[in-house]
């Protein structure tokens, strides 16, 4: 965007929205929206507190374990589905159902099965992330150039070689796209899980803040979460661009 001949850096419009927030906050329209400056003050004051550190480390743990499992399960399953017609017929309906299913509804069941703790939250995170990763890896393999596969076969590739040297790389742009969306869904999963279970991580924190009408605290935590999710997603988008040079030329 250009204003008066100056090139503004990306997302400068956020400043404008921030300003609006500040004004609305100062006007005291509702207790729900404190001024942005106050939110940031709160943010800096709570960021080192044990409660916050505990919440963020618990969340990070659940998120990393959940999303890593989703990738470790999702990528090979997707590649195998793309390679094998039989496996595809067997699994695709389930993947599609779970992809669009309201997974939040499963949370009570998971809590019964896996208890009210970390385990359930990790599983919820994985469930949120894994389906799109499977589907994208599968799509990446389906569009692979057949003659690359024949070439590998011809020059004596073992099935393992074909998997690691051809299928994986050929599908990598789609896989990364899937992982990026999966990670974003994982963020949702880990937060929704914590909110519903609400004795772990940010769930506990939100419970505490909203019960005590600490809106500054509430928003501060939310901003941290948004910023984290955004950073992770941008980093993955960057990786995707790195392989973009061959994505259009396979």
């Amino acid at each position: 965007m250009k204003v008066l001949g100056y090139r503004l850096p990306g997302m400068s419009s956020l400043l404008l929205w921030g300003l609006l927030w500040e004004i609305v906050g100062r006007l005291d329209v509702t207790f729900f929206i404190p001024p942005l400056s106050e939110v940031f003050q709160t943010l800096f004051s709570i960021i080192g507190t044990p409660a916050f550190v505990k919440a963020i480390s618990e969340t990070a743990y659940a998120f990393v374990v959940g999303v890593t499992s989703a990738i470790v399960i999702g990528v090979p399953v997707g590649i195998l589905m793309g390679k094998s017609r039989l496996l595809d017929e067997l699994l695709l309906p389930w993947v599609n159902i779970f992809l669009s299913a309201p997974l939040t509804a499963l949370v009570p069941v998971l809590m019964v099965l896996f208890g009210f703790g970390m385990k359930s939250i990790i599983i919820i995170t994985t469930l949120f992330a894994v389906w799109i990763i499977i589907l994208n890896s599968r799509a990446g393999v389906m569009q692979i150039n057949r003659s690359l596969v024949e070439m590998a076969h011809c020059f004596g590739a073992s099935p393992m070689d074909a998997f690691t040297k051809i299928y994986f790389w050929a599908a990598l742009p789609e896989i990364l796209g899937g992982v990026r969306i999966g990670v974003i869904r994982g963020v949702k999963g880990v937060i929704i899980g914590q909110l519903l279970i609400s004795i772990v991580g940010f769930g506990a924190l939100f419970e505490l803040y909203s019960a005590n009408f600490l809106m500054g605290h509430f928003w501060a935590v939310l901003i941290v979460l948004f910023a984290l999710a955004f950073t992770i997603s941008e980093f993955l988008a960057y990786l995707e661009r790195r392989v973009g040079y061959y994505a259009s030329k396979r």
Binding site: S147, M151, C154, F155, G156, Y245, Y246, K249
Partner: protein, 258 residues
Amino acid sequence: MRDDEHDVEYAVSVRDVSKNYGDVEALKDLSLDFPRGQLTSILGPSGCGKTTLLKIIAGLLSPTSGEVEVNGKTVTGPGPDRAFVFQDFALLPWASVIRNVAFGLELRGVAKSERESIAQKYIKNVGLSGFENSFPHELSGGMRQRVGLARALSVDAQVLLMDEPFSAVDEQTRRKFQEDLLSLVQQESKTFIFVTHSIEEAVFVSDQIAILLPRPSRVSEIIKPTGIRNKGTDNIRRDPEYLDIVDRIWASLRSYVE
């Protein structure tokens, strides 16, 4: 100098091969022998089963009936005695030229430094020195096919299978390729099986031309343009025998072209 009269030994023999794709009879009882150390072209209109035949020889497809022997051994799958040059190059788009050329060796477990020095040699042979670290998308079609050729050469297979390797490159590059192919056949003691749909190309490069006709697919004729082989690349195209053979082949193919 290659001479027909001596070692008339066959590197590859195709015996009564049939191949059906569902109801489509792509090949029917096809038999053909490929003399060792020579270039045999398989020429025919598109859809007559040339690629199918080549893939059966490569071991990528199994025939519905019949068999293929390479050096007296029945083909059951791909093997190190055969290398393939693909019509669409089949290069790894995420790998550099040198890794692509060395890929056949990589799959055979040859150590990195060794395979790269072999690859280096063939990259030089095909005239791509200086492009070792380029990526396929940075190269022209002709250069990409040189990479595909170098890859096939570097595994040092006795039989080289080429499926319309020059059809995706421009006319000038194509002529240069044909000339290079002729000197390659002279230098390397390999058996070349070369699929093409271009009559001129087949006559220009071949020791033996097998004309394939469709419906049902069979070898209708085998032509050996022996007289023009030792004329030198500059003179072949205006040699009367060359022109005669081109005409003769066209006469037998024209009724199959809509």
